[in-house]
């Protein structure tokens, strides 16, 4: 990079500050998980893999991981199906038709995608408790309620990922080409758009899955008394054995990191394929 292309110094400082803010706690967590004790000096003592081994073998942890994986998969699947059904037709309609109705539909979906950011997970959890557990939905299985409540919070991930993928594909031009060739829109979507969207759909699904698995507030408030999921478990372990909790958090982080790396690889491959020559 030439001198003219170098980012400003303050940008480098800001980036370094952010990295420190993220990496220092992670490093501390890793050291805590790898040490036998860290209470006598400012440095950790007695390096060990014991806590990692115990975390992996603990039936309570294994159960929580299984339940978390299953419920996160169910939430991500529901979010993907509903999100794709809402976003794909709306984005294509908005690209195809400059009519205000299509633009209004797109704006409405964009607004809905912002809602989960505007409403705190605690509020969502308490509302769900009031509505589905306390009042009319007592007969509903709690895991089902949990999936139904978490899935809408994942919609922004699905919506934004698919929306940008469709814009990059120039989906409207492909649909119009299909129409002039005598194909129904459904045929062009099935034969052309969906295969091309597959990496984006997978990336959106994986991101949604990871996000659902890392969810704490709703899992704790809604399922805390009945089903123990990974995040509440890590929180409760922290009070019993901080070293094992730290080891579990590091393992969870490594798992999430692997999924995110997979998503990044998929996205890179997908954008590389679609670059015009």
């Amino acid at each position: 990079m030439s001198a003219a292309q170098k980012p400003p110094v303050f940008s480098a400082f800001a980036l370094a500050a952010l990295l420190i803010a993220v990496l220092v706690p992670m490093a501390a967590l890793l050291l805590y998980g790898l040490s036998g004790r860290w209470d006598r000096h400012w440095w950790p003592e007695a390096p060990t893999l014991r806590w990692f081994g115990e975390a992996v073998r603990d039936p309570r942890v294994q159960g929580a991981v299984l339940r978390t994986t299953a419920l996160a998969l169910a939430s991500a699947t529901l979010a993907l199906i509903c999100g794709a059904l809402a976003t794909i037709p709306a984005a294509i309609a908005a690209q195809l038709d400059p009519h205000p109705k299509a633009a209004a539909l797109r704006r409405a979906l964009d607004l809905i995608a912002l809602l989960p950011f505007a409403i705190a997970p605690v509020v969502i959890a308490i509302s769900a408790l009031e509505l589905f557990v306390g009042r009319w939905g007592g007969w509903l299985p709690l895991p089902l309620v949990y999936v139904a409540v978490v899935a809408p919070t994942l919609f922004p991930l699905i919506h934004k990922t698919l929306q940008s993928a469709l814009a990059q594909l120039n989906a409207a031009a492909l649909i119009e080409a299909g129409r002039t060739l005598g194909a129904s829109d459904a045929l062009t979507i099935r034969r052309v758009l969906l295969p091309m969207l597959a990496p984006a759909l997978l990336a959106a699904f994986l991101l949604a899955w990871v996000t659902a698995a890392m969810e704490f507030a709703i899992a704790n408030l809604l399922l805390g008394g009945q089903l123990e999921l990974l995040q509440p478990l890590m929180n409760s372990l922290r009070n019993a054995n901080g070293h094992q909790a730290a080891a579990l958090m590091v393992l969870a982080f490594a798992g999430v990191g692997a999924v995110v790396a997979g998503v990044a690889a998929l996205t890179r491959r997908w954008t590389a394929v679609d670059q015009p020559r």
Binding site: P98, L169, N170, A173, L174, E176, A177, G178, R179, T180, L181, G182, A183, S184, L187, R191, V192, P195, M196, V273, D274, Q275, P276, R277
Partner: protein
């Protein structure tokens, strides 16, 4: 090709053989409150190529999209082969379309792109394969049949887009700036190949372009459009001979124009302009002996020389400051900028047009 049931021009059940392949009548359309098409009339005979020529925003692409069914008209009618199609979706119009950026399906091979239309229209796989083989041979891309579009050059993609549009044997081929995305050195041979292919197939075609030379080369008739209106639709020869008004003449860019009010003697008029093909403007000394035939003569001052690939364009300031272009050969003696010379145009080349 499946038959399409819709009202006919003569009210009968079947299209008449001698009906124009395309008849657009009084087509009107406004987008966002702005009139884009303002009473367009256009006909196209079997095997004919009509070019819609105009500047950006004149409505030529919108007209093409309306013919394709990708854009609904507010008013007016479109008939193809004698059948009104303006209310039919694109799938039920007998058309093929080549898009400006081709819109090839990126995940399908060249062969699959070509097979897509026949299969979508209900042909069986064997027929679609045979048609794809036939078209691959026609565009000379058999060796690329299994490649994806992104592995092809711009020119090859253009040929695949053409083959894909022809795969359903459409009554009418619509092309939206099909050569504009190509480098110039590819453009000329490709459009000549297209014209040869079109003549061999007898394919009726409407082509949108902003390139005057392209329009004149590939089309039997050229429709010059301004502001949603066809100002003149005529053969290239007729357009060259008799542009209908000053705006068409200026847009075509192949004429020198002199304001008739600023000339002297028999050339003077109360209104209008004299136009003459650029090649008719000569230095008085270079003018061939016309045995005393009348010619317009006037002094002009050379502003600048612009050496081009084929010739040198000399830009003059004529009577009343009007800009005139004189073409000279590269081997001719160079005129000095600022020098004043006498120019002449032979009377037969002159044509008066209204303002």
């Amino acid at each position: 090709m499946s038959s399409i049931a819709s009202p006919t021009l003569d009210g009968g059940a079947a299209a008449t053989a001698d009906a124009p392949h395309l008849a657009v009548r009084d087509a009107r359309l406004a987008l966002g409150g702005r009139p884009v098409l303002r009473g367009i009339d256009l006909t196209l005979a079997r095997g004919e190529v009509v070019a819609l020529l105009g500047a950006s925003g004149c409505g030529k692409t919108t007209l093409l999209r309306s013919i394709a069914g990708l854009q609904q008209l507010d008013e007016g009618s479109i008939a193809m082969g004698g059948r009104f199609v303006q209310s039919l979706p694109p799938q039920r119009r007998d058309i093929g379309m080549v898009f400006q950026h081709y819109a090839l399906f990126p995940n399908l091979s060249v062969r699959e792109n070509i097979r897509f239309g026949p299969l979508a229209r209900g042909e069986d796989a064997a027929q679609a394969d045979a048609r794809a083989d036939e078209l691959l041979a026609l565009i000379d891309l058999q060796a690329m049949a299994d490649r994806l579009p992104q592995a092809l050059s711009g020119g090859q993609r253009q040929r695949v887009a053409l083959a894909r549009a022809l795969a359903t044997r459409p009554m009418l081929l619509l092309m939206d700036e099909p050569f504009s995305a190509l480098d110039e050195h590819f453009r000329l041979p490709l459009r000549r190949q297209f014209r040869q292919l079109q003549r061999e197939l007898g394919q009726s075609c409407v082509i949108v372009t902003h390139d005057r030379e392209e329009a004149f080369e590939v089309a039997d008739r050229v429709a010059v459009m301004f502001d949603g209106v066809i100002a003149q639709c005529a053969s290239p020869r007729e357009l060259r001979r008799a542009p209908v008004n000053r705006r068409v003449a200026d847009f075509l860019g192949m004429f020198n124009r002199l304001d008739a009010r600023t000339l002297e003697g028999t050339w003077r008029r109360e209104s209008g302009h004299w136009i003459a093909p650029v090649e008719a403007l000569m230095l008085a000394g270079d003018s061939p002996d016309t045995h005393g035939a009348p010619a317009l003569r006037f002094p002009a001052t050379l502003r600048a020389n612009y050496p081009g690939q084929q010739r040198v364009a000399c830009e003059f300031e004529g009577p009343n400051g009007q800009t005139l272009t004189l073409w000279r050969r590269h081997e001719d003696a160079e005129l000095a900028a600022g020098s004043t010379v006498e120019l002449t145009i032979a009377e037969p080349a002159m044509r008066w047009i209204e303002d």
